[in-house]
Structure formats: C-alpha cells, structure tokens
C-alpha cells in the first residue's frame, strides 16, 4: 500500500506532475518566442544557455529576485492572492489530461466540464487581479478580458462538446481511448479543430486577440502593477495556460498519447503538443491586432454559427 502511494506521489510531483509541467511551460515559451522571431526574420533569444533555451528560466528567476512593489492604493490581500490562484488553476486542469498512457491521473466522468470551467475561472481571476491593482489601466484591462471571454467562451464550449458527443462520454481519458480505438476527431471534425484553435488564441490573449493582456512589446494592461515575484508567477501561469491549451487540443482532436507502433505514447503526446503550439504561435506572428469590435463581430457572426453547424454535423454523421 505504501509503495503504491509513493509511486502515485512521485507521479504527481515529478513525472507527469508539477515539475514536468513547469519545464514544459518554459520550453514552449522558448519555442513560441523563437518561432515568432524567425517569422520576423530575426534570431530571438540566443545567448542564455544553448540556443537561448534557458531564457524563460532566466526571466523567471530574475523576476523572482526583484523587489516586489505593492501599490499604496491597491487592495493588499487580493493583490497578492491572485498570482498564486492564477498559478494553481492550470495545474489542476493539466492533471486531467492523459499524458503517459491513455488514462489521466484524475479521470472521472465530466472532467471535460471541469477543464472548461477552469478556463473561465482563469479569466475571472484576471479580472480580480486587475481590479485589485487600482491602476486605471489595469481595471480597463480586466474589463476587456471579461468582455473578450464573453466572446470566445460560447463557441469554444459548443465545439468542445463535439468530440464528447461523438465518443458518448464526458471524460477526456475515455475520449482519448475512443480515439485510439477509432480514428482521430480531427478527420471527422476539422472545423471544430480550427474553431478551438482560434478560441484558445483568444483565451491566451495572444497577438490577434491580445487586447486586454499586456501587449507583446509593451507591458501594460492588467499586468501593469505586478512586479517581482507576482509577475514571475503570473508569467508562469500564462505559459502553463499555453501548454494547457495545446494539450486539450491534442487530447480532444489528435488522439492524445496514442500513436503508431514504434514510439512510446509519451513521445507521441509531446510531438502532437509541439505541433499544436506551433500552430498557435504561427497565428501570433502573422496577424495584426484586431480591433475589439471586429473580434466581437467576428465571434458572434461567424464563429458561433460555425460551431453550431459543427455540432449538427456531429449529430447527423454517426461516427
């Protein structure tokens, strides 16, 4: 009995657990920055560690060691709680994703809904953080985040229900098992995959939709007042969200850790996750920032009807 708990403890803390997620977060932030830099015909981080691999880690460590300023007029308690809260959310969601084998550490009927709920919670905590730092721009950043969430949340939820209906289950692990037996949902629901990619871009507040969050080149928005340790945790939370978005896309549409014969399932999961991350950051490099009314109009006029169409298609075509 004891030996088993140690293994599961190890599983949670080390391998498909915290340490792995943090390293994955840093690695994929590096991939994202390098890929966008190459798109813009320049090098990107180069001198910290081999090929700049340790750059996100250096940023994180530097921010941890900087002086942590709490604005005089800020709501002290909330202001310091939000970063920790923001960090814990993606972690819990990541545990529902099957990585090593096709059953996740936490897998019960309905963990798909838990993951969706967590993505909404993240935006709520963004708003609380923005509201607690009384800088005028943070409050506006927070309001923008909520307004943007109203936009993309509905089509995303509708479309994510697609694989659940097709696999007749609400647990991600079972959906993955269904896909390993059958075929990947991207073949039958390509439209769903595209819509989820766009919605995750909006949720992560990446370039085409980075209206509320600090823009890439100038940090303002709801991150304005955070500095030092809080900013480090918030940036890490942002990267974890990035990994979470990628892994949800892989497990729902690309069959999670299932692959052909020669490679172990874990390596397959990493390959698919990298492909999804590259798709997301590719979109980041190519578009100008949308005005917010375009975003709302685009989402309500095009994305939501397409999502409904996708669901109808799933109903009509049995497999």
């Amino acid at each position: 009995m004891v030996q088993e708990t140690i293994i599961s403890l190890l599983q949670i803390v080390i391998f498909p657990g915290f340490l792995f997620f943090i390293i994955a977060a840093f690695f994929y932030e590096w991939v994202d920055r390098k890929f966008v830099a190459r798109l813009q015909n320049r090098y990107g981080p180069l001198h910290t560690g081999p090929l700049g691999l340790l750059q996100p880690f250096a940023d994180f460590l530097k921010l941890l060691s900087k002086e942590d300023i709490i604005p005089y007029a800020a709501d002290k308690l909330l202001f310091s709680v939000v970063p920790i809260f923001m960090l814990s959310l993606p972690f819990t969601a990541l545990f529902c994703i099957p990585i090593v084998n096709s059953t996740a550490p936490i897998s019960f009927e309905g963990d798909l809904i838990l993951v969706i709920f967590i993505t909404t919670l993240i935006v709520i905590s963004v708003f609380i953080g923005a509201w607690s730092s009384t800088n005028r721009f943070s409050t506006i950043g927070g309001m923008r985040a909520c307004l943007q969430m109203l936009g993309y949340e509905i089509p995303m939820t509708i479309v994510i229900a697609g694989p659940a209906i097709a696999a007749k289950t609400l647990s991600i692990s079972k959906i993955v098992q269904w896909q390993t037996a059958g075929f990947w949902f991207i073949l039958t629901q390509p439209l769903g995959f595209i819509i989820v990619a766009i919605c995750f871009l909006a949720e992560l507040q990446k370039i085409p939709f980075d209206i509320p969050k600090a823009e890439t080149e100038v940090v303002a928005g709801w991150l304005t007042e955070f500095s030092g340790k809080k900013l480090a945790l918030l940036r890490l939370a942002g990267d974890l969200e990035f990994v979470l978005a990628g892994s949800i896309m892989t497990s729902l549409y690309l069959g999670g850790p299932s692959g052909f014969w020669f490679m172990p399932p874990f390596v397959w999961f990493i390959i698919k996750l990298t492909v999804c991350i590259l798709i997301l950051s590719n979109l980041r490099g190519l578009f100008a920032r949308f005005r917010i009314d375009q975003l709302m109009r685009g989402v309500w006029k095009y994305l939501t009807p397409l999502a409904l169409l996708q669901i109808i298609l799933v109903e009509l075509i049995p497999w």
């Binding site: 830099a37 990107g44 981080p45 001198h47 940023d59 900087k66 600090a214 991150l223 955070f226």
Partner: protein, 142 residues
C-alpha cells in the same frame, strides 16, 4: 547567489524614456530591436511599464518640464535598477547647452550608471552600453 546574478545579467528589460530630445537617439534605440541588431538575442525586451523594467534607457536633455516625470518614473522602478544615458544630450546637454529650459546633464536628476556618447550613437554602441552596465553589475556584486 551566482544563479540570481546570472539571471539578472541574462534578462535585462529596458524602459525607454525620451526627455525632450531630438528623437535621433530614440530611433536608434528602437532600431536596436530590428532584425539587423536584434537585442532580443541577449534577452532584452523593450517594456512599457516601469514596474517591469530593470534598465532605464534615457535620451534627450532633461528639460525643466519633464524633470519631475523622470523622477517619478525612476522611483517606480523595482530595486536592482540601472540608468543608461544615451547620446550627448543627457551627458552634458549636448547641442542645447545654454538653452534656458534645459538641464545640462541627467546626473543632476537621476544617478546614471553608464554614458553612451554620440549624437546619435549607433545601435551597436547602445547594445555595448547595456552590456557594460551588466558587466559592471556582475563585477560589483560579491
């Protein structure tokens, strides 16, 4: 302690502040981030909020009007912070020495770590200035 020092020298975030200059140095500071010079290779990012930045890149002669704004910005930056004076204006008032609304030199307002002379200095000189600040920091701390 070595790790913290390594982290601080490997990811210096810049805040650019134009105190009334002729925008010659400002173009060169931004030109340093275009594909030819690309300061992101050293982990440097141009940040907009003083809360997030370590190095204040200062251009232009400090006109009377902008002096208190400069002090406020400097006070809002979190602690291990440095100031680089780019161009001859913040060093000695440059060409505008003797004008009535100009401070002759930034060190009257904020403590300056490195001066980068030139009017305007080339992007290579600006990058070299930032690297020098980091080197001084590395040698100065234990």
């Amino acid at each position: 302690m070595g790790l913290i020092k390594w982290a601080r020298t490997k990811s210096p975030w810049l805040l650019h502040f134009n105190s009334g200059g002729c925008a010659g140095c400002d173009i060169e500071v931004v030109a340093a981030s275009n594909p030819k010079f690309d300061i992101e290779r050293f982990g440097m990012l141009l940040k907009g909020s003083p809360r997030h930045s370590d190095i204040l890149v200062l251009t232009g002669p400090i006109t009377f009007q902008i002096k208190d704004r400069l002090e406020r910005i400097y006070n809002q930056m979190p602690e291990p912070k440095f100031v680089i004076a780019i161009g001859s204006c913040p060093i000695s008032g440059g060409v505008y020495r003797g004008c009535y609304s100009v401070h002759e030199g930034a060190d009257k307002v904020v403590p300056v770590d490195v001066y980068v002379p030139g009017c305007p200095p080339k992007p290579e000189a600006i990058i070299d200035g930032i690297i020098k600040v980091l080197k001084n920091y590395k040698e100065a701390t234990p």
